[in-house]
Symmetry: C2
Subunit: 732 residues, 2 copies
Amino acid sequence: MTIPDQTGADTTTEVHAAWLPPEAFRAVGSRRVLVHGEGLLVDTVREEVAGACARYGGAYDSAYGGAYGGEPHAHAGPYDLVLALTTAEPLPGVAGEVRAELRRRPDPAIGEQGFALARRDGVTVVLADDPAGLLYGLFQVVRLGEAAFEADRPVELHRPAMLRRMLDHWDNVDVHPVMGQVERGYAGGSIFWRDGAARGDLARVRAYARLLAACGVNAIAVNNVNVHATEAHLLTDRLGDVAAIADELRPYGIRVHLSVNFASPVVLGALPTADPLDEGVREWWAATTAKVYATIPDFGGYVVKADSEGQPGPFAYGRSHADGANALADALTPYGGVVHWRAFVYDHRQDWRDRSTDRARAAHDHFAPLDGRFGDNVILQVKHGPMDFQVREPVSPVIAAMPATRLAAELQVTQEYTGQQRHVCYLAPMWREVLGFRPWGPDGPAVADVVGGGGGLVGVSNVGDDPYWTGHPLAQANLYAFGRLAWAPPLDPAAILDEWIDLTFAPMTTGKTAPAATGETAPAATGETAPAATGETAPAATGDAEPLRRTLHAMMDDSWRTYERYTAPLGVGFMVRPGHHYGPDVDGYEYTPWGTYHFADRDGVGVDRTRATGTGFTGQYPPPWSEVYESLDHCPDELLLFFHHVPYGHVLHSGSTVVQHIYDTHFAGVEQVERMRLRWAETAGSVPPGLHARVAELLDEQLRCAREWRDQINAYFFRKSGVPDARGRRIP
Amino acid sequence: MTIPDQTGADTTTEVHAAWLPPEAFRAVGSRRVLVHGEGLLVDTVREEVAGACARYGGAYDSAYGGAYGGEPHAHAGPYDLVLALTTAEPLPGVAGEVRAELRRRPDPAIGEQGFALARRDGVTVVLADDPAGLLYGLFQVVRLGEAAFEADRPVELHRPAMLRRMLDHWDNVDVHPVMGQVERGYAGGSIFWRDGAARGDLARVRAYARLLAACGVNAIAVNNVNVHATEAHLLTDRLGDVAAIADELRPYGIRVHLSVNFASPVVLGALPTADPLDEGVREWWAATTAKVYATIPDFGGYVVKADSEGQPGPFAYGRSHADGANALADALTPYGGVVHWRAFVYDHRQDWRDRSTDRARAAHDHFAPLDGRFGDNVILQVKHGPMDFQVREPVSPVIAAMPATRLAAELQVTQEYTGQQRHVCYLAPMWREVLGFRPWGPDGPAVADVVGGGGGLVGVSNVGDDPYWTGHPLAQANLYAFGRLAWAPPLDPAAILDEWIDLTFAPMTTGKTAPAATGETAPAATGETAPAATGETAPAATGDAEPLRRTLHAMMDDSWRTYERYTAPLGVGFMVRPGHHYGPDVDGYEYTPWGTYHFADRDGVGVDRTRATGTGFTGQYPPPWSEVYESLDHCPDELLLFFHHVPYGHVLHSGSTVVQHIYDTHFAGVEQVERMRLRWAETAGSVPPGLHARVAELLDEQLRCAREWRDQINAYFFRKSGVPDARGRRIP
């Protein structure tokens, strides 16, 4: 394996361009472009356009040029593309027409961060009310590529479904003795921190910001929610390190957030208490927060994991989580900051013998009674499922239980339980299901609507200092898809993947529909054996990228379900090696205090969470799901063992028995990985050799690990049930 | 828990006296004693006697006084005790009579390290041919206490069953990132090394040597058999650290051995190979060894773990283990040194699906064919069982398979798999069984005879820098018993425990049969709350130590079997948490590459190692055991699952079924721990409070852990077998 370990060497000089290779800007860069408006992010648009035009022979013009122009000047049109704020004056020609059309609408505002896109009379127009919207509009034109300059298009309004699209980094400043530099990080070290200090590689941070803006992310928490001793100081004497990061993120419209330790008043302030109702504590937070904003005026706010897995919290003082969250929120109110307060609170020291305690219930039990008691600038950050980022869980019932609270849904982009960026596991289909789930039934709002109402979407980042950013090059697609789904939850995961392929593999695909070639050649290779990426020899554009596209879809579209097939079956979850969570160990957590059990015995398997005979967890859902999940007849197959303990002979809706389903899916999952691996082998020559080798190596590991899962799961259930495989395959 | 962790603070100022408190010398120290002879170890005897007499009012006299006298002088008798070399002249009186009697025997020699003990006419006499024997004779008198000065006793000859009684320390010099300062150490840090350097606490080393001499140990390997980078250098540029330790051990008759890396010629010598047949390699070992002996003239030799669990070895060069061992042995021959070559060689990357591979076979498969090919100064060091220090294993078949090889048996005093010095587990009964096992049946020699023929006994030390030496104060008894059994394998474990109790709790027991009290009081306490030990307030001697003695016997005599009852049943082994090996995890190693499986399914459990249907391991034994173990009818219950895979309903010789036996023993084991804990509570006030508190705390943990074992094992087998407990007890 060539994946760098946590102590990995500095690889910043050879970093893969991910979905923003220069070629992705070929369509824009070969046009005549006008950028019109004022503001830091408009300047960023200018810089992007100017760079692209310089590279690809287009012509760039700037009105109200800011850093690039200075004086307003007469336009040098005609233009192929106009990017303008709606407040820009004068705005003549097609752009002016589009603006006038917008202004005639009943709701004339494009809205915060949004943009309008249109094409007529040979001019593509992007208009936005604010500079952020203009930046997102530019990246939409980049995504469209040549298509943005082909047929006319009527005015389209693009508005983000969620105003806050955030990534949480579980990056430590100090290398944690067990968890390493990045907790649950599978992509090398941190891009922010190394060995106890700021890494200082601000160019890499800037490049990251650019990638995130291109997929729509606009907020980052730069340190782990488990805030250890050193990390606590980011709030005070190490704030300068955070400010330096903020300076790099700002031009791409990304605000910095900080994970803080609830006990900071004690740990940092030497106060005798961190009681959230103590006046001294409240003053400490107010004064500390004032200093933060004096240093970082656009600081986003605090992220807090309290009373969870050993972290300090308000329970120590007999206070509620609302008391705790509000204390910090009040300190942030004067500056417009928010508190992201995590709802991941449960008893991680439970007695496995006690079948009445159900970890799945914990978040709802703790937080639903507090609905309405959180301040306006508190966002309760709820993991999408009731357990912990398993490959299959129902949606958390908390989402439907707190109408008077701002809720954010938390997704895990880093693949802790989904292959740890050694397995291909494209997560957008899972997220799409989560965001589209309608807790109150088909006529009610979806999860995306609930969290779009003020909370937003939060993803745990999968990025590290790996040259490919994400360890597995194809795991980049998860990061990209997270941003895109946060912007537009109804997007089709396959369409998002298509976007990602078009951008990322633009060096190989731009021949497809490109205008007359500019004659430019690919940059010189840095060496055939380099592990990465930028500057690596790109195969010549063949004019037909379809085989590569088809291969990537064949490998990735269904890869989440493939991973599900060869791992824990039917929603039962876990069955992973304790501690690192990679690879199978069916009973690994079965007799532990962690609350993650499958209760398999010789007769059956699954967790009875019904009201009738189990833990009553189904009752945390509103109808119809409270009834659907309760019913053995109606519970969806894929969640059966999450909600019910059933005999091995129980017949699924699919017609198969539970145990035969286990065997069949585990054999099938491995066969899919085998096919995936063969498909990838065919792409040799059509992607850069370093990337090809990395993916090929990882597919070997994925196959080894998938076989291990298959054999352990099948052996376990065969030994326990005694039921032979109906198809007579070998079970070890 | 107050057990110091691996980084524990320096506790050298308060170290428990273990089995050599000053009071243990009261009987000797209150007598008139003559020490007669020359030599370093005779001087040690003098020092011990002089110190005891100074403390307890006796009179000490020295002939050929060495450091203590100078000129021979007229004896100032009469004496109560004479300790003399048989070469000492003049030797008048009773001592002379005893010597004359010895000289009239057909074999007049007492022999190496041995001593003769007699009492007549009011004089107790100890005679030895060599100084070491005199030292061991002194400690025998100390053990006897007042009994040494009561009735007459005819001449008894005491000769060690094994000339080499050795402890291996698995101490690292550098703190290993996973294994810590001491690999499988449960008693704090190392007494030799700390954080990459020699600890320099030579007084502690000296105290350790004295304790070891008092129980008969005469060799130590001072570093881990897994020889990492830093530790490799002990052989060359860090040899001075080893020499400093040797200087402290020498006065107590203990020789230093060193674990070396087989690849040393490459690692240290910058040679291109470590091929044992390469002339340059052989020259390197010769030159290096010459330097070792120039520095440490009584150096014992090398310990080597080769081709085992990742350590380098001769296989890399296509050579046999005989080739490898002989290369090092040849270098040691000129100086009388030996190589301890470990037979712990197996495939630790085996495929769990492959039931034909059997780790139990590995040592015999590797080494038996090499019998007769090892040099005279090679000792093949064989773990007592074929697996790895489980609570119950058969004796290794290698013991009976290599008549032309010097064999040592290796025991594990450190309680890796037997409670990690948090559980009371007195191991002497297990070792007694091992040493008394007769591989060729009742008329053949015992294991003790085989290894007594030149190999000796090796124990992995359980000592660390903990104030009680061994973490659990009662684990001291294991170290003591190891030495005693190596000296005299037929000793009754209960009698050894009695010796240990009498010595260790002498401050509480000397009232029992003591002569008129000297009026001396116990040393002042260093403080009621001190965790340790020397100087701690001793309760006043009550004149009746029997309750404490009875309690300790009740707690310890059967504690090994108690541990067995609540852990892995019927010889099947393991079922421990992977990695640290503490606490239960029934399937923890079931699907791993380590070769340690139980194969439990819904119908039965156990490993079929028969020739008829299994791995054929039973064929590695000579008759009768090859037949006994092969036969389901004759295989002893306690090893049933080691040799056979049987249905849960299989009826044991005990009359119980396998599954009911599992339930019964696990309930019983916990009940025994509960009783143990109650018994200990009764001793409050009759042992030092710090020691009492430490043991009480550990018993709480033992009970918690025993319950965890009981519940996990019972739940596992109930879930798998579906057989309810015949007595209707709750299985979770």
